[in-house]
């Protein structure tokens, strides 16, 4: 649906979304906020909600947030579109990507 309210906003940095949270799985514990080396996240003002991605451009893609997360499936690393590696199935020749 098209937004009715329009605001003047700057462009968002690239990549926009280094991780994807699953709201249903996230327990809002902020472990990822605590272990992120680059301090990409801040706690969500609403308790229990996934953190806010404040500095997506600073993500090192080290995956510590995912590795240390106590809630399975709550957070997924999302490679930037221009860095997604491809592969080919040996038997069929079918091409795939991250």
């Amino acid at each position: 649906m098209i937004e009715e309210k329009v605001f003047a906003t700057p462009n968002t940095p690239t990549p926009n979304r280094p991780v994807i949270f699953n709201r249903d799985a996230c327990i809002g514990c902020n472990m990822c906020v605590d272990v992120c080396q680059m301090d990409v996240f801040i706690p969500n003002p609403e308790k229990g909600e996934p953190p806010i991605i404040l500095y997506p451009d600073e993500c090192w893609y080290g995956g510590c947030c995912v590795a240390m997360c106590p809630a399975p499936g709550a957070i997924r690393l999302n490679h930037p579109l221009m860095q997604r590696v491809r592969w080919k199935r040996k038997e069929t020749g079918e091409h795939s990507r991250v």
């Binding site: 272990v35 806010i52 991605i53 997506p56 451009d57 510590c64 240390m68 860095q83 491809r86 991250v98």
Partner: protein, 653 residues
């Protein structure tokens, strides 16, 4: 809503979630202060605490996973051990000869002597170093008795394959158990010195909290610099900031810059290499099909499935996979990636690029994991790629969830197509102007003696901050060594009063960007530094170019940096990082001006002194700051003297 722009879209601004305490002071007293809580830092802290010292770690990120090796480690290199005939002396000889003499004889020898006991100690702390579950029983690279797995040279067994994702948490827990005080999210900003003078004893450091903006004064009898080295001097992607470096983005040369300002002596700062890893747009490191490092000895094929041959040091084609991990006839042992003939490991042909251009192999190339034996396939994909830093989640987990199956799929290589982290350099496709400084292997760093003491009393150094240093095993062992040395020094030294003037001056320096209402943000400043370095300190160097480079860096310092502004503690930290990047860039140019000769080993091309590695310049060039003036000096290439004798004289108290 999980992104800031969701709030912006609703016309809301997000409040800063942490209490803001700009300028407020906190004081910490300790015996040993460890700057940087990565691999070297944690080992230093553990080792100093075991000697009875009160220890504090200052870490910009979060110690539990910080540093280049925090997320993992695939190989523990250069380690004489009961399964191997290789000695510490042979290992250092390999390093020295392969690097044309430009290696850190002191730290490499300490590392070779203490690496095995460090590894066993790590196991006691909970690090996994053996195939205890017998996942690789019967593998070519396994010692059945000890269950150790080895990499690269299966005959000489001196480079271990390890489960490095278990290491950092184990070290962190041991720090906690020993009562080490850990100060996370604090960026060390300056060294405190006796009488606030250059070149005097180091009395601790100052720190800025990157969430609250609070100022901490750390007073210590001994300080250890474990802050790694300079990065982002030539290459900076404003869009992929964190992913633009091989080592974590927290590493920018804070330790080098503060050491320089305090008057410490550095060497090898002129060394650079081709930048394959982190131009910002490269594919993930180890995440493309390739035959290097973690991926040895993977078979590579072209678009038609035609195999690319592996060759030995004489260019002789190796007929089977087994030959890729064994010395050639007459060769004593293999290095991990040495290009020097004596220890050169099997590799793809050096003229691969040319042969692709001529049509012998059709692009794209692929890593043929499905053709590898079960042991090799799982050792490459799962163990090496999986336990190495930045590989378990970003590669194995993410690729697997996207459907990648190492038993069925050919992972694409980007060799000759741009963006292959190691392949670009292999076929000579890296930009000559976008140099790798600290991003590369051995870089410039602090000059140390056999105590791993710097030229400033009370300041020790370990890990990648050391000159001509590299690798996880080396960071661990030198950290462990420097930790005990610093603890012994601290025990016999009295606490000295720090200078209030020095504290005030530092507070003024670091908080100034907050006082401006507008100006330039840190990213543009970093990018501007990189352009100057690319233009005037890229591959072709000359006195003229370097002098112009200094003029423009100074100009940036006096104009743009005076307009730098930050609007929260996080951005203030990033701004101060860029100040340090500028300082490190100036250090590189000063060192480059002082070396008036080209050197292949240092990636150093002087168009005004084109002769490569003339014998008269086979020496170390050192730089330091004295009362605002740059002093250069030189040291004999083997200034460390007799390795065994000197190590044994210094290794114990």
């Amino acid at each position: 809503m999980s992104q800031w722009q969701d709030y912006a879209q609703e016309g809301k601004a997000l409040k800063w979630p942490y209490p803001v305490r700009y300028g407020e002071e906190r004081k910490v007293h300790t015996d040993v202060l460890v700057l940087g809580g990565g691999i070297a830092g944690c080992w230093a802290a553990i080792s100093a605490a075991r000697e009875g010292a009160k220890v504090a770690i200052v870490e910009k990120g979060a110690t539990i996973r910080s540093g280049s090796g925090g997320s993992g480690c695939d190989h523990w290199l250069n380690t004489p051990n009961p399964c191997s005939p290789i000695t510490a002396e042979e290992i250092v000889e390999k390093e020295v000869v392969s690097n044309g003499g430009y290696t850190n004889g002191i730290s490499r020898y300490i590392a070779a002597r203490e690496s095995y006991e460090t590894l066993l100690e790590l196991e006691k702390l909970g690090g996994k170093i053996r195939d205890t579950e017998d996942e690789f029983k019967g593998a070519d690279f396994r010692d059945e008795e000890t269950k150790f797995l080895f990499a690269y040279d299966y005959e000489n067994k001196y480079m271990f394959r390890v489960w490095g994702t278990t290491f950092k948490v184990a070290l962190y827990n041991e720090c906690k158990r020993l009562g080490v005080e850990i100060y996370d999210r604090i960026m060390a900003t300056s060294l405190l010195t006796e009488g606030s003078k250059h070149g005097t004893r180091v009395l601790g450091a100052t720190g800025l909290h990157s969430r609250t903006g609070e100022f901490t004064i750390f007073q210590a009898n001994a300080t250890i610099n474990c802050l790694s080295r300079h990065q982002r001097n030539w290459v900076f992607s404003t869009e992929l900031v964190g992913n633009a470096t091989f080592r974590p983005g927290t590493i920018v040369g804070n330790g080098h810059a503060m050491g320089w300002r305090a008057g410490a002596e550095f060497t090898q700062m002129e060394k650079t290499g081709g930048h394959g890893a982190g131009t910002g747009y490269s594919y993930p490191f180890y995440g493309t099909g390739n035959p290097f490092c973690t991926w040895v000895p993977c078979t590579m094929v072209d678009a038609d499935g035609k195999e690319i041959p592996w060759v030995d040091r004489d260019g002789k084609v190796l007929k089977n996979v087994s030959g890729r991990t064994r010395p050639a006839p007459g060769q004593k042992f293999l290095g991990e990636r040495e290009r020097g003939y004596q220890w050169m490991a099997p590799h793809l042909p050096f003229d691969l690029g040319e042969r692709i251009r001529k049509g012998e192999f059709r692009l794209p190339l692929y890593a043929d994991l499905p053709s590898m034996s079960d042991h090799e396939q799982r050792a490459i994909w799962g163990l090496m790629v999986g336990e190495e830093a930045k590989t378990k989640i970003p590669l194995v987990k993410t690729y697997t969830e996207s459907g990648f199956d190492p038993s069925k799929d050919l992972l694409q290589s980007y060799i000759m197509m741009r963006g292959d982290p190691l392949g670009d350099a292999f076929v000579g496709m890296v930009s000559p102007q976008e140099r790798a400084g600290g991003e590369g292997g051995d870089a410039g760093g602090l000059l140390v003696d056999w105590d791993l003491s710097t030229t400033l009393e009370g300041l020790y150094c370990a890990g990648d901050a050391l000159f001509a240093a590299n690798y996880h095993y080396h960071a661990a062992t030198t950290g462990r060594y420097a930790g005990r040395k610093a603890a012994w020094y601290a025990q016999k030294t009295a606490e000295t009063e720090i200078s209030r003037n020095q504290v005030e001056a530092e507070k003024m320096r670091i908080y100034t960007p907050l006082q401006r209402k507008d100006g330039l943000e840190w990213k543009e400043l970093n990018a501007a530094i990189c352009r100057i370095m690319q233009n005037y300190c890229g591959e072709p160097k000359s006195d003229e170019l370097l002098q112009i480079g200094l003029i423009w860096l100074k100009d940036l310092e006096e104009t743009a940096l005076q307009r730098a502004y930050a609007t929260n503690p996080h951005k203030l930290m990033r701004t101060l990082e860029v100040f340090d990047i500028l300082t490190c860039s100036q250090m590189v140019i000063h060192a480059s001006l002082a070396r008036k000769a080209s050197s292949q080993f240092l990636g150093f091309i002087r168009t005004d002194y084109p002769e490569m590695d003339p014998p008269a310049w086979h020496k170390w060039i050192t730089i330091r700051l004295e009362e605002g003036n740059v002093r250069t000096a030189e040291l004999p290439i083997d200034f460390w003297g007799e390795l065994k004798k000197n190590y044994e004289k210094h290794c114990s108290s």
